[in-house]
Structures are given as structure tokens and as C-alpha cells.
Amino acid sequence: MKLEVSRRDLLLAGTGAAAGIALSPVPWKALDDLSIWTQRPPTPTPRPAGPLAFRFTSCTLCPAACGLKARSFGPQPVGFSGVPGHPASDGGLCPLGLTAHHLAKHPLRAVAPERVSGGKREVVDRAAASAALSAAIAAAAKDPKRSLLVVDGRPGRSLSHAFRALAAATNGRYAVPGSPSPALDVLAARFDGPLSLGVDLSKARRVVSFGMPVLTDAGTPGLLARLRAEGRRKPKNERLEVVHVGATRTKSAGFADRFVPIAPGTEAALALGLAHVLLDEKLADAAFLAARTTGLAGLEALAARLAPPLVEQKTGVPAGDVVALARDLAASRPAVVLGGDPAEPLSAEADAAIAALNLLLGAPAGPLVARRAAPAAPDGDAKLAAVTPLDAVPERSVGLLLLDGTVPEGLVPWARLEKLLADGAVVASFSAFRAGLGEKATLLVPGPAPLEEAVEIDGPADAPLATFAFAPALLAPPKELVLPEELLREAAAAAGFELPASPAGRAAAIVAAKRGQLFDPSTATTTPVSSIADAAALETAFAAGACWVDDPAPAPAGRFALLRDEEAPRLLESALGAPGPEPVRVAALPRTALSAAPSSPLLTKLTRETALFPAPSAAKA
């Protein structure tokens, strides 16, 4: 038989062989072996020049002022960790603080002054920026209908003194962002004398939050989560539990032991409804009310109008739940009621109702403690502008808006500022970034980025003890950078206003007060200020990252007004006029960071790729 191989046979055999080889591991393994040569191998990370050292400072991104331990090579930090035992943070650190060393090289970082001209942003030199600022200051001083408004994100600094002096000299205004806890301020204002209140969560067994994200963002969420978890393994009557009341199921609400959804804007009605039950069933702290308060009859008359069925109608919370929550609060004393998210404050009436509720529960004898401010250097004879609430500034009355670089847009939304601006107003910002409020500036004079300058920083106003640090710089600022205070003084002088020198000597004031302790982060030890020799020694300690913490203040003698006569009609109107129940939108909302700086690109990535700010549907169990 003659074996003939046709062309078709060859084609078939070839195709079969190709298919067979393709189905075998051979080509794929060969491809793998080849492809590995197309990849670059892992590369060693460059080691910054300089010896390894650990340096200490305080985070200046938000008022919490957490302790930072920086692992550095020469002047370059390569990582942060918290400082155990630190008075402000006790070793904790948030994602913003952990990435603070990225911000100096953030893509939105501005180094040279920029001006918006004809709708276009252009880089200008220092002289042009100073001249533009000077002209705007002179114009604002001349025209009261187009005056100066300064918004300072962190009052009490040397730059703040210059801001206040300029505002006073030009008949302008000086404003600061709102209080972190307005309900506490309202309560303190009801005291006989001057009083400042902080929250000591370790003394509480029940924390009720009206919209304040106490477990994720506000106050000291890490500490509260820790205290609550420790309580979970205790008997039920000794546990610390958190109840979140609000119209939105935020991340903090989802993490609370109990979430009470209410119709938007009806916080005052619910707080007065709880007061009604406490008074009606004689569950209030009678001893505290008798010894430390006035005006009980007025509050009783007001609360009597807010019976649980009516509260249910207004808030959407079932009457039985209102009664149960009030009874639970009374049985779980010491209890404290906190209100308002710094980014979304409650109404003044809701703050007043929450203050009354705290008094009925006797909170000022428990978790609410009197605190003192850190000693400050005297202002001297300089004429300085007082703080004006932003709400008191007339609309379209501002010709020059000076924005400090530490003002977070989360606390002072641009929409709120924009309506204050007159036509053609100049918006000058000292932000280090073309982001947040810095992006809105028509004249951006960038200041140092976080960690690039030493910053005086007071701890949060609602902490149980005042803290203060003179956070040393870890990074060198770019050489071409103009310091905001320097440029402000230069521009003001060119406009005919010589600003007085800022007072130096915060350290001297602390030493003179002989109050508090100095925390040394390198050894985690404290030293009484009374044993520190002089201000120079204290300044040396601050330059090494030390933090001052106040001693507990003695409880002041005096009484709180439960309700002021003139408040009753407004409160009643607010509670009774509240909108009826609406379907509550249940959604997890990403929160705006309370920092003026943008997030590190790494944090942006993590937010996008993980469930840090999850939607409820994103996670499955």
C-alpha cells in the first residue's frame, strides 16, 4: 500500500498538533517563564540620608492634638505611631495622623503664591501677592460695606494675634469655627459664674448622643469604644452603653448599642419628651436638682406639654420607646447626653433641651466636669478684635475674606462664607493646599504644610482636662515659602497698619501658673510644672515634643438654671412645631474630615478600595 500524504493530511496534523500543544501546560509554562523576564524585580526602597532616630511632636491636623512618634532618617519621617500614655491620645492615632508626613508632597500642595485673574489661576511672585493683599486690606478699611472678615481655624496662636490686631485696626471682624459641642456650652452658660465643661467618659454608664458621632469621629472615639468594650464583660448594670439618636444611620449610629431613628429636626421634642417622663415619674436626680439648680417649675410646666404620645407624633419614636429610654437613662446614672455633630450642629432649641436633660440626670455631678483653659500669655495693650459669630456677619458685607490655612471646610462650609461676600470680594487664603477652602481663594498665599512649622496647639475644648503643646516641626519647609504672618504684617504695613508684636511667653505663663503636669513622650513620664525651673526649661521640653496637661479643676459652687424664662416659648414652639414623622433615610454617609488638609493619596486609595466608609450593601456576612 502506498502511503500518500496529502496537503490536507499535513494541515490536519499541524492543526491537531497545535491544538494538542495549546491544551498542554508546555506553552503556558513557557509563557510564564518568558513573562517573568518582562517584569521588573522588586526594588529596594531608597533609604533617606541621615541616621535613624525617633522624634516626638503633636499632630496639628485637628484639635485633638494626638501625640506623634516619628521614625525618621535624618530630617525625613518615614512612619508614625502613637505615644502610649500621651494625655491627649494615649497611644491612639487616626488614619489622617498616620499619613501626615505625606502631605508636604501632596499633589495639591501649593508653594508659590497664586492669583485668580480673569477666571484663570496664575502663579505670582511674593511682591505681587503682598501688593494684592495690601490693596485689599486698604480697600476694606475704607469701605464699611465691604469690610474685612478673618476666619481663624485655630485661635490662640501668634498668627491669631496678628489677625485680631488687623481686624481691630481696619474695623473688620474676627471669627472662629463653632464649638465642638454647643450643647455643653449652652449648659455652661446656665451656671451662676463662668464655667467651662468637659466630658469624662470614664465616669459614665450611659452616653446618649443626639447626632454626634461619638464612636467614630467626635471627642475621643477610640477611648469610648475601649471603655464600652471593657464594660461588655461586666454585669449589665455596670456596663457603659451608647445610644445614638438621629435622623441618619451614620457609621457611629450603626456601631452604637442602640440606634433611635427620629424625624429630622425633632431633637428638641424628643429631649423634652424624655424630660417629661423623668419629671412625671419622679426619676430625675432630685438631690442634684434641689442643691444645684433653679427654675424647676418652669421646666416642669414646659415638659408637661410634651407627653410621649405627642412626642411620638412629632418625632416618629413610639411613645413606649420614649418612656423606656427615659427610664433606662434614670436607671443607668451616671448618664450624659451629648448633642450635635461639629459639621452639622443642632438648633439652639435642641441644645437648650439637651442641657436641661443633662441637669435632670445630674450629669454635672458625674461625667460632665469643670475644666480650665490652659494659661495664656497676656495680650498686653494691643487693640484686638473680639470673636464674632459667623452668623452675626451680615450677608454681602465682606470685601476681603482672610482664611487661615487651618479652617476645615467640614466645619465652615464654603456656601456659608460665600453668601457673606460682596461683589468682587477678595478671598485670600493661607492654606498650603489648592484644596478645601484654599481652592476657593482668589489670592492663595500658601503657608507651611503640616509638620513643616512649629505650632502652638491647644487640645479639644470638650476634653476633661486642658492640654497644650508647642508641636515642633519635623520637616523643613520649601525655601521659597513665605510665612503667612510675615506676609500679613508686610501687607498690613504697606496699607498703613503696623501690627503689634505678638506676645511671646506661653511657656512663661504656664510656669507662672504653677498648674498641671508636663508629659515627656520619650519616657512616658510626667513632671509637675511646679518643679520646672523656668520658662526656658519648659520651652526646651516643648521642642522635644512634650505636652502640658492641666490638673483636675475643683467643682465650682453655684447653681445651674434649668430653663430661662425667655427660652420657654421658643423651645415650646420649636418642639411643637417640629415636622411630623417622615420616612427616615437610612444610609451610611462618608464624613468630611475635620482637617483643613486634604487626605494623603494613600488614604484616598484605601477609602476607595476598602470598606472604611462602607455603604450598607457593600458588606456581606
Partner: protein, 252 residues
């Protein structure tokens, strides 16, 4: 199990992470500290929960609790005693260290087949879809103790093994046979403000971790698989314990 595992003696140490879910409030500090410590690069904007490189994810697990409470679950590599990823790697790029119990990933050996990602029941491995890039100047702030991984390789948590190496070097310099436990703490544990994470040697009978491992409130994710994770979770909520130990958490 691989030859490496079979021929090993019992580990001298058995490093273990215990996560207290009652304390975790989902702040993300652990994930951020991990990313900073291990030089994880910012990714292109098109990256997402499936394609991004993240060594430790914090999941929000909605429980069946009638009060609507959330539980946040941080999930790094579970550092299994019987790791499925080791068996499937054709390049020996995944190794179980019998001295520590740490499952290490060696990027220089990895050819990017991603068999290990398929084998891992916890979805804790990430593939580098893009070349690592940082904004100009930001590279100076990277941790010099950790190499930059390139496109095309898989990576995962290794319990910050570079810190263990540093602790060993310190102990050796001091003439000590073993490290001081305080010198070896992973970045996530160090950063947690709620102190929800505990880390230590489970072979140390007097250690906190060994005590927590025996606690009836402790459990392992997907316990029935028998992979023997050295990441343990604790919760006072039996519903959370039952669900997570049975079903784990789905990524994405």
C-alpha cells in the same frame, strides 16, 4: 502540605493576632498603618475593592441584631497553620516559616499566576495590576525596610516580618538568644486607638494572647475549613461568633 512544612519541627514561636470585635469601631487606623509601613502605593483612580492592593481590610458586617448594630471586622492574611496558598504556588513564592508560624510571601519568586489568590478562602491576597507610583517627592517618605513590589506579583500581610528581623538584630547585638516581645509589634496593632488588636506568641503560656486564644468568646473565621488561622477574633455577641466562624466575610 509542602516539603518545607512536613520537614519542619514545631514552631519555636507561634505569632498570633487576636482581634476584639467589641472594641473595633472601624476607624481604619490599622489598615492605614499597615499601608504606610509596607509601602503600599496609591493606585490609579480606576482601582476598586477587587483590584486594589490592600493587606488589611476593615469590613462592616451588618448583623442580624434587631437594634441594627454594625460589627467591624479587620481581616489581614489569616496566617494559617495549614495554608492552602503554600500548596498551590508553583514557584515556592509562599513559605511557611516553622520558627514563627508566619506565612511569608516572596515577591521576587512570584510569577503572578494567582493560584494562591484562588486558593485563599479569606480573600486576603492582592495582585499588583499596576506599576507602583507615588506623587513626586513622596517616595522619600517610604519605609526603607520594605522593598517596593512591582506590577504582576501577588502580595499580602506578613505580620510586619521586617519588624521581627529588626527585633532579632537588636537581640543579637545585645547578645540575647531571643527577642524581647515588646520589640516585635506589627504596625496595625501599634496603631489601634481602641486597643482592639493584641499580638504575641501563643506558645507563651503566660502571655495575653495564649489566654485570649482559650477564651470561649474567641473564634476563627471559616473554622470548619481546618486551615488553622493564627488570626483569632473575639466577640461577646454569639450571633457574630456563629456567623463569622461559619461564613467568614465576602470581599467586594
Amino acid at each position: 502540605m509542602t516539603a518545607t512544612k512536613q520537614t519542619s519541627t514545631l514552631p519555636t514561636h507561634r505569632y498570633t493576632l487576636v482581634v476584639d470585635l467589641d472594641r473595633c469601631n472601624g476607624c481604619g487606623s490599622c489598615a492605614t498603618a499597615c499601608a504606610v509601613e509596607n509601602n503600599i502605593p496609591p493606585a490609579p483612580e480606576r482601582s476598586n475593592v477587587r483590584t486594589g492592593v490592600v493587606w488589611l481590610r476593615v469590613h462592616d458586617v451588618a448583623t442580624v441584631d434587631p437594634s441594627g448594630r454594625s460589627t467591624f471586622v479587620p481581616i489581614p492574611c489569616q496566617q494559617c497553620d495549614e495554608p492552602p496558598c503554600v500548596d498551590v504556588c508553583p514557584q515556592r513564592a509562599v513559605e511557611y516559616d516553622p520558627r514563627t508560624g508566619i506565612v511569608g510571601q516572596i515577591p521576587v519568586r512570584c510569577l503572578g499566576c494567582r493560584y494562591c489568590m484562588v486558593a485563599c478562602p479569606y480573600h486576603t491576597r492582592s495582585f499588583n495590576w499596576w506599576s507602583p507610583e507615588w506623587p513626586e517627592g513622596m517616595k522619600a517618605s517610604l519605609n526603607p525596610d520594605v522593598s517596593i513590589r512591582q506590577r504582576g506579583v501577588v502580595e499580602k500581610c506578613n505580620f510586619c516580618v521586617q519588624r521581627l528581623q529588626a527585633a532579632r538584630a537588636k537581640a543579637a547585638a545585645a547578645g540575647q538568644a531571643d527577642i524581647d516581645p515588646a520589640d516585635y509589634v506589627p504596625a496595625c496593632v501599634e496603631a489601634c486607638p481602641s486597643r482592639a488588636l493584641s499580638f504575641g506568641d501563643a506558645n507563651d503560656p503566660d502571655g495575653e494572647v495564649a489566654r485570649l486564644a482559650k477564651d470561649p468568646e474567641s473564634f476563627r473565621l471559616l473554622a470548619a475549613l481546618g486551615t488553622g488561622p493564627k488570626v483569632l477574633y473575639r466577640s461577646s455577641d454569639p450571633v457574630v461568633r456563629e456567623r463569622l466562624s461559619r461564613t467568614g466575610v465576602t470581599r467586594g
